[in-house]
């Protein structure tokens, strides 16, 4: 039998419009960059990898329709995509019905498992816990919680609330703003923050609203050195959008920052900039999108087909030298070993890495009780300076 030379089509669903288009566009570009690298290195045994991409416009309904279209009309069997949990939940039944595979490169709230999904973003035990520890030991345990109104912020705030209580701290307030909240919405929130004077602010605001929030904070004359915003979702992409002068001094926990000094990262960033412009910035979701595309290619190479029955065993347990360092897919829960870090935005809009785990942390998506005793042994924190 002759070896097939037909291209392998892979579905790609990241939004170029709608509330979370900035970060999703970076995930799209990371995926396209990885595909370019894969094809330049000879593809899958000579077969080209082609991205079939549609714009789901940050809308769960559109995500669902396009996932179905990718599988039924375009004949793809693997989809790389989704940012908000609501969009993943919309795609999930589709990939299950058609026994296709979804690779999901975004931090999320955990408590999910599907045989048809590989999760390459951080679970809460790989970012929330580290952020809570850092903020409480450096600023105090009275936190003001602000999030966008969807599942991820609610779950993140539950975890943060538990950890604050464990430290005899307090949720000064827990507030939710709509996904497309604007400057006016945040003026009121920030005025309340100013009145209440928490030790720090915990933000899980996502998308364009993030910039409005940080700007309202800056305009109110608050000082990030004394009362910073700590976030799980504010990455280089959001910082670039709002401007470094607004974001400077605020803190984010993530498994990847553009400033990571590994060679794999320097190279990936350089290639990314050659293709998408010298100003292009990377971020944690960009990185997950980038390495998961490479891991998919590696699995495709080793089994020679994109059917999930063969692909899954190849992906489960796979290790890869990603820009953040070594990552590995956990065979039992389909999530990824990742290295948590704490970063602070500097004057150039990049993150100065304040802390990093000494080694990748095992994903634990069903961890309910994120108590301090659980993770102090698990995460050896090495100061990077």
């Amino acid at each position: 039998m002759r070896k097939s030379t037909a291209p392998i089509k892979v579905g790609v669903l990241f939004s170029q419009s709608g509330a979370t288009s900035t970060i999703e566009t970076s995930q799209l570009q990371a995926t396209l960059l990885a595909f370019q690298e894969i094809n330049e290195a000879g593809g899958i045994h000579g077969r080209e990898v082609i991205a079939v991409h549609y714009d789901p416009a940050s809308s769960p309904g559109t995500y669902k329709i396009l996932a179905e279209k990718l599988i039924v009309e375009d004949g793809v069997r693997t989809i790389l995509g989704c940012y908000m949990s609501s969009t993943r939940k919309a795609v999930l039944p589709v990939v299950q019905r058609w026994n296709a595979m979804l690779m999901y490169p975004t931090l999320y709230e955990g408590f999910e498992f599907s045989d048809n999904v590989i999760y390459t973003g951080a679970a809460p035990n790989q970012n929330s816990v580290q952020l809570a520890q850092y903020m409480m030991s450096n600023f105090g345990a009275r936190a003001y919680l602000v999030g966008s109104d969807y599942i991820y912020p609610y779950e993140s705030n539950r975890i943060m609330g538990d950890m604050l209580l464990e430290h005899h701290g307090k949720r000064v307030a827990e507030r939710y703003v709509k996904l497309d909240a604007d400057a006016l919405d945040f003026r009121e929130v920030v005025a309340d923050i100013k009145r209440q004077q928490p030790d720090f602010i915990f933000s899980t605001v996502v998308g364009r609203a993030t910039g409005h929030f940080y700007r309202a904070y800056a305009e109110a004359g608050l000082d990030p050195r004394k009362m910073p915003i700590a976030s799980l979702t504010t990455s280089e992409a959001e910082v670039a959008e709002m401007g470094a002068e607004v974001a400077c001094g605020h803190i984010t926990a993530a498994t990847y920052f553009q400033s990571i000094a590994t060679e794999a990262n320097q190279q990936a960033v350089a290639k990314y900039r050659r293709r998408f412009g010298a100003d292009a910035v990377t971020n944690m979701c960009w990185e997950a999108a980038y390495f998961q595309a490479h891991m998919l290619a590696e699995a495709l190479r080793s089994v020679g087909t994109d059917s999930i029955q063969q692909l899954l065993p190849a992906i489960l347990g796979m290790e890869f030298h990603a820009p953040q360092g070594l990552v590995k897919i956990d065979g039992a829960n389909h999530h990824t070993y990742l290295t948590p870090r704490i970063g602070r935005v500097d004057a150039s809009g990049q993150f100065e890495i304040l802390q990093a785990a000494a080694r990748p942390v095992k994903p634990d998506p069903y961890l309910v009780d994120h108590s301090i005793k659980d993770w102090s042994s698990q995460v050896t924190v090495a100061s990077v300076g």
């Binding site: 999910e112 539950r158 609330g161 538990d162 309910v368 009780d369």
Partner: protein, 221 residues
Amino acid sequence: MPRKSVTPALLRDLRSLHVTVFHPNDEDGIDIIRQLQRIGCQVQAFWPPTERLPDETDLVFLAVRPETLSLSLPWSNGEQKPPIVAVLDYENPTTIEAMLKFSVNGVVASPVKSFGLLSVMVVARQIAARETEQHKQIQRLDQRLAGIRRLTKAKAILMETRGINEEQAYEIIRDQAMAKRVTTEEIANAIIHANEILGFRAKAEVRDLQLVQRKKPIGPS
């Protein structure tokens, strides 16, 4: 009320649970075990179901098959009953009957999906905890009711034998209880016992008297 945690306790302690799975070693059984392990529970699996539960069983998954109908599983009833989640592969009357026999607290349908298992466990535990609590409460109420009945009986004995009213009878019982530093219920018991022994004949006489009295008004005399 101060809350120790934002997260409900039923959810918080899921990880410390010892779960016993009575399920054949098939795809569904393996899926259940894997998902329980992902959640972080301690899991043991057996088939067929055993008459005795392993020590430290906090929750049971029980595959319900027609043949389970004939099994006797003492642990599925009674006070110490753990929460039970039935795993059904058919929804016919035979299977439903088998399920009802084991007073289950939750149901999952086959083919088992990993999504939904956590919720059914939490709900089953909540229902079982509520059942246990209600059972205890009913026992307490039963005891109190029995106590009130005995007190009433003791008062009746005193009223009868001493020709006093109810209030006076109660005062005697209460004074005795205070003097001897025991409960009024114990005094009531003592009076009833004493009456049963000493008043055996008298009681028979009283009964005869009552019969005579009751007969009197009947019919024109």
